[in-house]
């Protein structure tokens, strides 16, 4: 059942331990959220999973295959795609091209095919285009296909990033703060979309700060604080977990020395 497994994962930058002996399982078909205060190491976790960083200790496996030391570009091939906390689109390219590029790992055509333009290559191109358009439709961006990515609104850019990650039909989709900067209506739409993504059989693992969204859609929530996993469970469990409340709202221990 476990799709992605993190086992005793630790990473240190210089003296700083950003992620500290984390054990976590992502189960097939679930929506799992990773939350925690700023600087807790959430994005670092994603960077570890996508092999942008290598763990100092511990193992990360996808369906039993180790991801440690695998080249970043092969991770997508293996079935993990992601979005980024600060949007990373191909801004000077069209929306459609952005999504087509997302299909890269599912294509085969090489230079020779590009130059000979044999029917096989064109069939593949047509397939890519079809997939890309489907993915855009799924995220309600089909009407913007010829716009340049940089001309989209913030919410649209976030959705385009998801469309790009989704088009290659990954096993796991990593969403890094997908709701950041969205207005409440957009967030509602986003929640619905994430649910639909999961319903197509793709496991969703997200980092998010918006608690309404997290509580609303996740089946399980993992909480990271100072690089350590301090809680794991259903939204209800997590919400009432004392450690979590302290991490978020503060311990309440601090007492002002000044009477105000």
């Amino acid at each position: 059942m476990s799709l992605l497994t993190l086992n005793n994962v630790t990473i240190r930058f210089g003296g700083l331990t950003a992620v500290d002996t984390v054990n976590l399982e992502v189960k097939q078909g679930e929506i799992l959220a990773l939350i925690g205060p700023n600087g807790a190491g959430k994005s670092t976790m994603f960077n570890l999973i996508t092999s942008i960083y290598q763990p100092t200790e511990g193992t990360i496996t996808l369906e039993g295959k180790s991801l440690v030391g695998v080249a970043t570009h092969k991770i997508a091939d293996m079935g993990i795609t992601r979005t980024f906390q600060t949007i990373r689109l191909f801004t000077e390219l069209s929306v459609l091209d952005n999504v087509k590029i997302g299909c890269h790992c599912r294509g085969k055509a090489g230079l020779l095919q590009a130059l000979t333009r044999l029917p096989g290559m064109k069939r593949e191109e047509a397939e890519i285009e079809e997939k890309a358009i489907k993915s855009l439709e799924f995220l309600d961006l089909a009407s913007k296909r010829d716009e340049m990515a940089k001309n989209l609104s913030y919410g649209e850019q976030r959705r385009l990033e998801i469309a790009r990650a989704l088009v290659s039909k990954p096993k796991i989709l990593l969403l890094d703060e997908p709701a950041a900067g969205m207005n409440p209506q957009e967030k509602v739409v986003l929640m619905e979309m994430i649910r639909r993504i999961r319903d197509t059989g793709i496991t969703v693992f997200l980092v998010e700060h918006d608690m309404k969204l997290v509580m609303g859609i996740s089946e399980r929530i993992a909480v990271l604080d100072y690089g350590k996993l301090i809680a794991e469970g259903t939204p209800l469990e997590v919400r009432s977990n004392k450690a979590v409340i302290e991490a978020y709202l503060g311990s309440g221990k601090f007492k002002s020395r000044i009477r105000r």
Binding site: A76, R88, E92, H104, C105, G110, L115, R117, I128
Partner: protein, 322 residues
């Protein structure tokens, strides 16, 4: 009709007939127009072939190379050696020139393409200087004295046919999976690898194709001037080709074409300016960069712009006009 045109064989025939048409029309033209203008046209063609190659490296893939002249010189010398020392036919020589440059491009690409941005620029520049010094000191190239006795086999129709061929290949590459991967690398390397693009592979591919074009251009150049020396391929030659790409608009094929036409004929057009020519040229580069940092046609979707200009003239133009 539509179905017929979608047939691969028909398309191949169509493509070949375009090439044939180019060859034919240009060979008719070459008898009509004076050799002086013909020669300018020929140099425009040669520069365009090289600039299209650099456009793939710098404009499309976003890897700044300041050593394009080195690949040009490798192509020039390799082809000259092939046709003069080994009596091979001219076109084979051109091919050898391109392949030699492409091969060296790959060999150089592997280590250097790990570098990014300015570091890559300086590494390619250094490499070009090394190549030039090497050619100055080699026996087979006849050092500074120069390589003599190359046949003047380059003709206008040949150059123009290769130009059309190169443009087609570039358009095809840009509109393929490969081309999209290269564009993605230019835009964002980290996001590219996150969607599964092997950035090193595509950078090297772009570098190899770009160097190949430079080599072909060099071969054509050698068989035009009939005599080549290492000093023909200095740093300023690299800058010349880069200026074509940048002036026209990075990543834009029509832009590169315009850049090649403007900058190659500029010395002839600016002839009245005589001594002020290079001063004006330098200023021009600065002014263009300040007012159009992405080049004349950079960021302009030509098809869209033309369509909009023709059909909905009131709507605001897309582009970078901030």
């Amino acid at each position: 009709m539509k179905k017929l045109l979608n047939n691969w064989i028909v398309q191949v025939l169509l493509f070949l007939s375009v090439l044939a048409l180019t060859a034919l029309s240009t060979s008719i033209i070459q008898d009509i127009i004076p050799p002086y203008l013909l020669m300018i046209g020929l140099f425009i063609g040669i520069n365009l072939i090289m600039a299209l190659g650099l456009n793939l490296i710098t404009g499309v893939t976003g890897q700044l190379s300041l050593g394009h002249a080195a690949f040009m010189s490798i192509g020039a010398y390799a082809s000259a050696i092939a046709t003069v020392n080994y009596d091979l036919p001219f076109l084979i020589g051109v091919l050898i020139g391109g392949l030699a440059a492409g091969l060296i491009g790959i060999i150089i690409g592997f280590p250097t393409l790990r570098l990014t941005g300015d570091y890559l620029a300086i590494a390619t520049l250094g490499f070009a200087e090394i190549v030039r010094v090497q050619f100055t000191n080699m026996k087979i190239t006849n050092g500074a004295i120069g390589f003599l006795g190359i046949e003047g086999s380059t003709t206008f129709p040949i150059v123009m046919t290769i130009v059309v061929l190169t443009i087609c290949c570039m358009v095809w590459i840009e509109n393929s999976r490969n081309g999209r991967a290269m564009l993605a690398i230019r835009e964002d390397e980290i996001a590219s690898s996150a969607v599964g693009i092997n950035t090193t592979l595509y950078k090297i591919q772009a570098f190899a194709i770009g160097s190949f074009c430079a080599g072909v251009g060099g071969a054509l150049f050698a068989h035009t001037t009939t005599f080549i020396q290492p000093t023909d391929f200095g740093f300023l030659k690299s800058v010349d080709i880069l200026s074509i790409v940048v002036l026209g608009g990075l990543g834009s094929i029509p832009g590169t074409i315009i850049g090649a036409i403007v900058l190659t004929s500029a010395p002839e057009i600016l002839r009245p300016l005589a001594n002020y020519r290079m001063i004006v040229y330098g200023l021009l580069l600065v002014v263009i960069m300040i007012f159009r940092p992405y080049g004349l046609l950079g960021g302009v979707n030509l098809r869209q712009a033309v369509r909009r200009a023709l059909m909905i003239p009131k709507k605001k133009q897309a582009g970078r006009g901030e």
